[in-house]
Symmetry: C2
């Protein structure tokens, strides 16, 4: 049933790079890495990134302006993202905690806002850096 999304050439190239990477990649570092594949301009990268985000294949780590592959294979539409970020070594890990996501996805306040999405970033020190 889960129709596998077919990606365009540029989208696939960009996704491959991000999936192979062990850390979040910045847009221009992606650009540098894919120039041998024929992608020449920032816009080509940004367009692919935008689409991949929409598809939930990757996420943007807002505080770092960097992009990571989504590890949840079922995360086709990313409306609930959480990351843990080490402020020393900059290691970023996607947090997949169903308790948090349940808790936050049901969040309501008295302002009349309707929430469809959230992004949560934790900062601290990882085991190694502590």
């Amino acid at each position: 049933m889960t129709q596998t999304q077919i990606l365009s050439k540029n989208q696939q190239i960009v996704l491959d790079i991000i999936e192979k990477a062990k850390e979040p990649l910045k847009a221009y570092s992606i650009l540098f890495n894919v120039q041998k594949k024929g992608i020449k301009a920032p816009l080509q990268v940004y367009r692919a990134l935008e689409k991949l985000i929409k598809l939930g294949k990757i996420h943007k780590v807002e505080s770092r302006n960097a992009f990571v592959a989504c590890k949840n294979s079922y995360c086709r539409i990313s409306k609930a993202t959480a990351f843990s970020i080490c402020e020393s070594c900059e290691k970023v890990t996607e947090i997949n905690n169903s308790k948090i996501s349940k808790y936050l996805s049901n969040f309501e306040d008295n302002t009349g806002m309707t929430y469809k999405k959230y992004n949560l970033e934790f900062f601290g020190l990882c085991k190694k850096c502590r």
Copy 2:
């Protein structure tokens, strides 16, 4: 007991502008607004912003690269921030929900990370825009 932090000239100018604003301000819009006060260069703004963030006087809304005044007078060091953002009119409100902050501040996982800070951004539609 609460020693009121004395701000430098530029810091006070930048804080005033942000506090008066009804919406998050971008760094270069701040710059434009304070040029009559003698602040001429981006760095002067960014330096003030950096310090004000450290003091917890303002927060950065990461997904918008914009800055808002902290409404919690006791929020001298901002280690737990949450915002609600309307994707249509871009209205941003700081969420001051002690349940969430208690819940997230006590978050632990099995990776050995030590958390000292988090930032949470909710996206959706406000009452007017729905």
